[in-house]
Symmetry: C2
Subunit: 393 residues, 2 copies
């Protein structure tokens, strides 16, 4: 079969706030190839991604993403690798291209899996999928008491691991931050895994981040995530050298496999967190997982949005039983929940499994998404380059 059509659906909640909640909008991608349909999602700015798909060519190394995708054959995984290499070269100078292609690439695997009757993780080379310990990923409370209440709620919902991030962490005093860590541990109990996400707040300031290490150690935090800018490798490495017990985690900002490999090789992270909706899809994510295995680093998905994105982001390390922890969006928006008919639910031990079935094995709930759809129209020099399609019935 060949790639006949690629559609983008820009979905958004009625009101978007400045909260660091990435589930407030979504860019859903549908690929049609012969009689098969695949779905994917870009974890990125919908409008910027759509513009990168349709933009006029600037020169040979700055072409729209569409040019490397439409009409290409899609019969086995090597076709996806070839398309990815074409995007990489033809859109070298189009920075947004990696985010745009991510959702397309995921949809290509979904369509191919459906055609071949195989789950995506098998096409990626795994024989089976291993259960993952879901960690309830959420934002810090505004006060330690709120953080503790959120931790308790996660524990009561059956989670045995929790992550708190963003909000005021790193913005106030070291003692303020420590109080939130203590609250998170108190709420979760002594057995659970507690993870902390600094949301790049320290930019490149190693000293500021290092001052937070004692509290993280005292309350047995497994990792400190994104203390620095996504590519501040020297800062990552310096903090890793100074941390005795708490691992460094990062990688959600990676928009290529080499960028993630750099975080492992030079940034010395212990946990590499990959968002398949940003790194360019499942192929590059699997490359990172292979490298993580080789280097003794733990691969983790990055997912804060829908269960379509969750299924996609787990596939690249589905078969790695020792890479056991998985990010699970604990309080996503109504849009993110409504995006799929089926959902990935933790069992009584807080473990999750991929759904059973070909492709990503998720059913997009197109009827439920209609109220969230935003029309987009882009014209250059009087020619319409993009006009939103209707969601299928």
């Amino acid at each position: 079969m060949k790639i006949d059509n690629v559609d983008f659906f820009y979905l958004a909640m009625p009101k978007i706030t400045t909260d660091a909640d990435g589930s407030q909008d979504a860019l859903l991608v549908r690929v049609q190839a012969g009689s098969h349909v695949g779905w994917g999602e870009c974890e990125a700015s919908p409008l910027a991604c759509i513009a990168s798909y349709v933009c006029p060519m600037s020169h040979g190394a700055c072409r729209p993403v569409a040019e490397s995708v439409l009409g290409q054959p899609l019969n086995d995984p090597s076709d996806i690798a070839r398309i990815r290499a074409a995007v990489q070269f033809n859109s070298m100078d189009l920075l947004q291209a990696a985010h745009t292609f991510s959702g397309i690439e995921i949809a290509l695997w979904d369509a191919l899996g459906k055609r071949l009757g195989e789950p995506v993780y098998r096409l990626l080379g795994y024989k089976s999928d291993a259960p993952k310990l879901a960690y309830a990923s959420q934002l810090f409370g505004n006060t330690p008491a709120e953080t503790e209440a959120k931790a308790k709620a996660a524990r009561e919902a059956g989670f045995r691991a929790v992550k708190f991030g963003w909000v005021n962490y790193g913005r106030g005093s070291v003692a303020d931050d420590a109080a939130h860590i203590e609250a998170a541990r108190a709420g979760m109990g002594s057995e659970a895994e507690v993870l902390i996400d600094a949301g790049q707040i320290f930019a490149q300031d190693v000293e500021a981040a290092a001052k937070r290490l004692p509290a993280l150690e005292r309350f047995g935090v497994l990792w400190l995530e994104e203390p620095f800018l996504a590519d501040a490798l020297a800062a990552y490495g310096a903090l890793a050298d100074r941390s005795r017990k708490v691992g460094m985690a990062g990688g959600e900002g990676c928009h290529s496999a080499p960028m993630a490999l750099n975080l492992i090789d030079f940034g010395k992270v212990g946990f590499i967190q990959i968002d398949a909706g940003r790194i360019g899809g499942l192929g590059p994510a699997k490359e990172v997982a292979d490298h993580a295995v080789a280097k003794g680093v733990t691969f983790v998905n990055h997912t804060f949005t829908s269960h379509l994105a969750l299924s996609a982001s787990i596939q690249p390390y589905a078969g790695l039983a020792d890479h056991r922890i998985a990010e699970y969006p604990f309080a996503p928006s109504a849009l993110a929940r409504d995006l799929t008919v089926n959902h990935i639910m933790p069992d009584k031990d807080g473990m999750i499994r991929l759904p059973d079935g070909p492709g990503l094995a998720m059913t997009v709930n197109t009827a439920a998404l209609r109220p969230y759809l935003k029309d987009v129209e882009i014209a250059v020099a009087g020619r319409t380059l993009f006009r939103s399609s209707a969601l299928p019935v």
Copy 2:
């Protein structure tokens, strides 16, 4: 003064080809602040950049670039640094933001320089500008004879350094490539500097690139540029370790200062090439120049387009007399030539100096640009987010 207005002008040649000639279109940026006007240029996809400036917010860390810029005070260099930090944080998940902001940031320095009556390089901390040896930057010929003729033309035009890149280099045999290097050296004579740009053709294949080193050494090539993907640090470092005489050069793909620092610290490049129109502007470029000085690496501008971009990209290392070589677009498009009234011309020794005057000291030729202007219109949910302004009379 404060930033009252930011306008984008999408300019393009009537016909865009797949040649690796980045001067075929341009995204010109005008900033109005009080009674001052500054101009800059994004070396990037115009449509994707415009979309990133106006896109609806996705969440707190994925906001449109406009939100961190419009209305901000602009009275001294620290204001530009503050705006840059705001874009970095507020648009963390908007990949294209760095390219979009680059042209704005350059225009902010231009406006501020005009207000303060100072050339930008003085605002960046240099007392004076040093002359640079202009290298004629052009694409390889299709045959060695064409490459030799191009080299002769550059020499006859007074250039004492030349760079050839792209086209068939790395696509055919090692002997084919060597014939082009020999031709370039023959055309330029034994005294001139010859530089070679592989245009990322080897992706991450260190062996393929290493096979080209003997010919580069034999014909006294100063540097091999971009053998690999922009962030393939391990490959860069491995090839640098294997090259005895030819330096590695790279960096035009850097869209942040840390990314360029990584190329120096971990990729072991000898020449760090920064495009101010991609890295986020002159502030981050100056940070890279400072790091290059500290690490004994040579800073070089990356410029293949207009003389507005050329002036901008030289400012960050204008005062570094020992960093003596500068990229000079040898055969830019008519659009790139027409973009400014004044031009930076090599003297009889092939040396260039920055123009004298406040800001970037370049006069944009708005009247000449009118035929190149492309109207853009972007609407989301029925609301027009962007409609092109007319070029000023």
